[in-house]
Symmetry: C2
Subunit: 523 residues, 2 copies
């Protein structure tokens, strides 16, 4: 396992280490990072279409819901929808939604909520004015520079949890960073959530794969937070992302989990996976109209289950390579779809989820440019929850330890970008300009000296040395620096404290549920 190796930090990490006599000075972190904090979306979001055009996308989605309908592949969900006045076909799963029901559901869902973490300092607002950054999720493979690419497994999973716990820019978990495929599916959720809850104190996610797993997850997070069921019901503490099986279909296991969470007042993020040209129309407006219909259908399901249950509108429309059919991410089409999804979510007063994605096979320039294009769209689109924020590669088929570090650095830069400029007298610095005057320099002025340590964001990875110094250091590239930082962070990992009684109760629950056989795998 990569995590078990002693990491030899290269110059990129070393130069950020502070000195300290052996056994003497207080321990300093091996890697300097900004503190854990949520950022406000300080700038107005960018509209990609006019208000009239937005209405036509909204109208198109309503028409899809009314005329074509959505397959809701879950008996109980259909029964709830029938009771609420939806047109539910006698045979098959087709449900048609009239606009009154959709508009009712939009009014029920809250525009914001707090997602509580085990460490209260790491609880997050999911709201119109803020953004929150999650880890990568749901990759079948993982990779690091030392050991290459391999299938997801529990040891690497735990290393990702340790790494994400150490990275301040990873603010919550977005599911399993890599699938621990070596743990049997019946008990995987128990071991995986137990690892997240004990190795980390950040807010977390549970997969919706039938009701049992979600109920197990609710109990585990209740135990871990040391709260009673009524408090859990007041305080959203775990969320689930469900996808539509596009086009226009919501499947049974996901709906079962979503219903369980909605009924317990836990957030459901509904993200249609609408690849334009494959599972959705080849035109982006059409693909997003379909995305919108699917998201609104899911919204209605959660709101008929429990009016007011927290819900997040997820946008994930991208395009395929029309030569090969391969999905593409971080493309211009993805960017426009992300902006349009944000406009729709704001129209509905719902929190918005976007993603930090790419389709690169290596942590090269492509991985970086597709990721930053994604971040551009997420920030300008007003994303309140950035999913796959750190570690995603290969269109979601692989999680990379080095990419998690690199993305955390990108997220730190985004956070610094979102931090407003200081424009008071100190910020305008007229007195410093007066002091220095034409032809002078600012290095030595009092204004500079008082601020130089904190004036600028200090990235972990960016190497700004001149070419000679860089060549002398062995020409490290961003991948090498990210690797060294990953190793240094794992070497310095500290498990967050947990009350022993809570730890015992949690372990006992997991042991009991394993004895009982875990959860069904026949979905």
């Amino acid at each position: 396992m990569c995590a078990d190796e002693a990491g030899a930090a290269d110059a990129g990490a070393r130069r950020r280490r502070r000195g300290g006599r052996a056994g003497g000075a207080a321990r300093r972190p091996a890697v300097e990072q900004p503190p854990f904090r949520q950022y406000r979306l300080s700038y107005p979001p960018t509209p990609v279409v006019s208000t009239d055009e937005l209405e036509s996308v909204h109208e198109s989605a309503l028409q899809i819901l009314e005329e074509i309908g959505v397959d809701i592949l879950h008996d109980e969900a259909r029964a709830l929808l029938r009771d609420a006045g939806a047109d539910v076909a006698a045979n098959g799963g087709r449900v048609r939604f009239d606009r009154g029901l959709v508009e009712w559901a939009i009014r029920q869902a809250p525009s914001e909520f707090t997602l509580h973490a085990r460490d209260p300092a790491k609880s997050l607002r999911i709201a119109g004015e803020t953004t929150a950054f999650s880890s990568v999720a749901s990759t079948p493979n993982c990779a690091c520079l030392d050991h290459g690419r391999r299938a997801g497994n529990m040891a690497d999973f735990e290393t990702f949890i340790r790494l994400g716990q150490m990275l301040t820019a990873v603010q919550l978990w977005g599911g399993y960073p890599t699938e621990p495929a070596d743990v049997h599916p019946s008990i995987r959720h128990l071991d995986a959530l137990h690892a997240i809850l004990t190795l980390s104190d950040k807010a977390l996610h549970a997969y919706s794969l039938g009701e049992t797993r979600n109920l197990d997850a609710l109990e585990m997070v209740r135990l871990a937070r040391g709260i009673d069921a009524a408090t859990l019901d007041r305080e959203p503490s775990i969320y689930t992302v469900i996808n539509a099986s596009s086009p226009l279909r919501l499947d049974g296991p996901m709906l079962a989990g979503a219903l369980a969470f909605a009924r317990h007042n836990q957030p459901v993020v509904l993200t249609p996976f609408t690849l334009a040209g494959a599972m959705a129309p080849v035109t982006i407006a059409g693909a997003v109209a379909q995305q919108n219909a699917e998201a609104l259908a899911g919204l209605v399901v959660t709101q008929v289950a429990r009016p007011g249950a927290p819900f997040v509108y997820g946008g994930f429309t991208s395009n395929v390579d029309m030569k090969s059919g391969a999905p593409a991410f971080g493309t211009p089409e993805f960017m426009k779809a992300t902006l349009l999804g944000g406009q729709l979510a704001r129209r509905y007063g719902l929190p918005y989820r976007a993603s930090n994605v790419n389709a690169a096979n290596a942590l090269d320039a492509q991985a970086a440019y597709e990721s930053v294009f994604s971040l551009w769209a997420a920030v300008q689109g007003g994303a309140n929850l950035l999913f796959h924020g750190a570690g995603w590669m290969e269109g979601g088929l692989c999680a990379s330890f080095e990419k998690m570090v690199l993305d955390a650095d990108l997220l730190g830069m985004v956070g610094a970008f979102l931090t407003p400029l200081q424009t008071d007298a100190d910020g305008l610095a007229l007195s410093a300009v007066r002091e220095v005057g034409p032809g002078g320099h600012y290095f030595g002025t009092a204004h500079t000296r008082a601020r130089y340590k904190t004036a600028f964001f200090g990235p972990m990875i960016s190497d700004w040395r001149n070419n000679e110094a860089w060549a002398e250091a062995g020409r490290p590239e961003a991948l090498n620096r990210a690797h060294a930082i990953y190793k240094a962070l794992i070497a310095g990992y500290e498990q967050p404290p947990m009350d022993p009684a809570i730890a015992e109760a949690l372990a006992a629950f997991v042991a009991r549920r394993k004895r009982e056989g875990g959860a069904p795998t026949d979905f």
Copy 2:
């Protein structure tokens, strides 16, 4: 020279080649690119400060100009300013500008103009609603994957011109892509401009290094376009970028060139190089206030020389690494400064110049993320002229052939992002959704088939193959793919036609001016 080698295209380029029987089908380009075209800034620019805060930055700049002043190191410029009512010190270069004079100059300068290219189809609007992408400029070194890093020289310079001529996203020249340092400074401008004017038909730039060079440039572009002096005076056909010698100083050789161009109605781009913490206050608002004072001082100089002369407001404020003093680019501070510069330029009704920059030593993830952060700021900041658009590395100390290709691809993506979504009935695709229905797929529908070839931007470099196929192809990274495309483009280079009489007149002018000794080098 890299350019002289036969390029063996790797899979990345090869898969974009179209088949064709030997000696049969018409010749197709080796690399598919979007056509040459300017993009509209379709989305509203992002304000980084409120209107009140913007006014305080503007006010601070006016106070700097009134109270502190700017050193104008050119006798004639000072005389013009004195005649216009500025407060010109009897000794030394200090000039103080009252706000009335500044506001007068702001009113004189046009909000937009056309920059004419030798090929009229490549003339560009420099205006509030459009953006134009330039090549890299002014690097002392250059590099390619085959031959590594070397000092700028005329052979590599010419290869850059050929490459930029072939890249449709490189819309105009931004100066010398790399400095042809092996040509004597007295005649360098003659050889370099002659190469640009004959190897390319795109709009171009001349350096301001004393009046003589600029007058030579005017005559060369007049000859190359085959126009008379009066037409040249009506039609801006060559531009110059001058920097302030920050803080608050405009030097003699640059002012001499700027005056020559302004008097002939050719555009002057004034770009203060205000590194926060070094040549400007450590606070970004303070650095931009100083930038603004310097830009407005330059504006006044051009407008007293010729009221109405085209002028572009340049923003280039970035920060330094406060540990080493090294300049940094594409940082969060750079982004905010770029947005703020755009707000100021719009306040003044002046076209805005921003840049595509990074400080990386390798074409790695850092080069890409810093570049895309720069592009994010430029687009959202409303840049009408993107300088250093393609090829910049190492904070401007090196131009890279592969980076020029990669950046051209990024610019293509930006252009596709700026292309508005289609939201009419065809775009909304309701009939296709109806046809496919829940659970279907769109690959085979008529709506998809009619559009799949043109629905999405096709990048040159992005490799979206799955991991297995990519590994089988030898794990090419973005750098390798960019290299192959560079080689393929140079192999397919075609010199744009030029009337033989014009070519002869241009060559005769260069030969005569060389015989005369070129231009002084004693600045």
